[in-house]
Subunit: 239 residues, 2 copies
């Protein structure tokens, strides 16, 4: 474990993102206790919050940043299973199940992340039934997302999944202000590991979408030129 750089401790009460998080309904003393016992660290791009196989000692709450959660498959290939943004909580699943982490969380860019110790989180969970409800809702949402992703992985061709992934990146992290450029910058390999395909295939299909004027590739930046066409190529039942 490398020593983390810390940033100014922000009281959860003042955190803008709390309203969207599982801590939305907390207040008063419970929130104070939570806030007082947390530590706030900065993770540089590429730094790991926790590692597959490690023991959970608490939960991570993203104050500002972008985090990928990934599993390393049997042949050593990374599969990105989730992406976290401001207000998202990480590492609670393994803690609740009393298991080691089954995934690794890595910062995609410099991020401010708060850490809430296990005992404080668990006691909050006991005291505050609304927190339990929020946790259950979050788990439910993520389970649904995982099952749908699993279905698409089994049934949809790579091109459709790539288009879907680009739309997902837009939903999750949005555009750079005033543009149609995705505000995450992933390597081609990371995009492939999100889609579930070989890197070369992802590259090829990206430049295909580029040639079709659906997206525009600007180095690592991706501009969505024709979102309707992108939705069409994703071939989603809803949307």
């Amino acid at each position: 474990m490398t020593q983390q750089k810390t940033f100014d401790h922000i009281h959860c009460d003042k955190c803008e993102k709390r309203g969207d998080s599982i801590f939305c309904c907390m207040q008063g003393d419970s929130l104070d206790e939570l806030s007082d016992s947390k530590t706030c660290s900065i993770y540089r791009k590429g730094q790991v919050l926790f590692n597959e196989g490690g023991h959970p000692f608490g939960v991570y709450c993203v104050n500002k940043g972008k985090i990928k959660v990934s599993i390393v498959g049997d042949e050593g290939k990374e599969q990105i299973v989730r992406l976290a943004k401001d207000g998202d909580v990480l590492g609670y699943r393994s803690m609740l199940a009393s298991e080691r982490y089954n995934a690794t969380a890595t910062a995609l860019e410099d991020s401010q992340v708060c850490f809430i110790p296990k005992d404080i989180f668990l006691s909050s969970l006991k005291k505050d039934s609304t927190l339990s409800v929020e946790v259950m809702k979050l788990l439910s949402t993520q389970l649904k997302a995982a099952e749908i992703k699993l279905t698409h992985l089994a049934q949809k061709p790579v091109r459709e999944r790539l288009a879907e992934t680009l739309l997902f990146l837009k939903e999750t992290y949005g555009f750079e202000p005033g543009t149609d450029i995705l505000s995450v910058q992933l390597s081609r390999e990371e995009i492939a590991n999100l889609v579930g395909t070989a890197t070369e295939t992802a590259i090829r299909l990206l430049s295909e979408l580029n040639k079709e004027n659906i997206i525009e590739l600007m180095g690592k930046k991706i501009k969505i030129t024709n979102i309707k066409a992108l939705i069409r190529t994703a071939n989603l039942s809803d949307y």
Copy 2:
């Protein structure tokens, strides 16, 4: 909705499978209330407990039987995302998330299933914090399973996934007593929809494993002749 045939109401207190279920820690009045308000029905093979898109009015608890939970993909192809056995609870995810069902639950054989109305389940959740904990644990376990399945779907060849599926069927439902014959009987198409492949491919690979004396095909019954070899072909990191 077709009228369900009911079976003799069993008090949850007497249910042998309760110990392994999320209701393991419940007792006394709470359990009585749960038990008194439930209805017990028999679902014949192929009958549907609930349908993708439907509204959840309660949770289903499998007393005895085998249930598949599946999502229909965009092209109408079924993907089996989970299997339920005695003591398993179904339909709670959508209820907790206040959403419609995102999957369909179908009986794989004649099954006895109890139904607990929404309000009773939710009030039990509020009253009994151990139940919340169990629900969170269950969701956590299922989320982990889904993320691992997703990773394997993205990275492992069909043959390995098929072997893995057969081992999973053994883990879940076990053998017919005193034999090495899987106690679930699935159609080849269902096996394919569990593995995430085309039916023909599943058939071909099954008969390949048959020729290699790893399994023995006896109509719909599957005997696992050489489990070590099956584990090897599944190529699992753990195990």
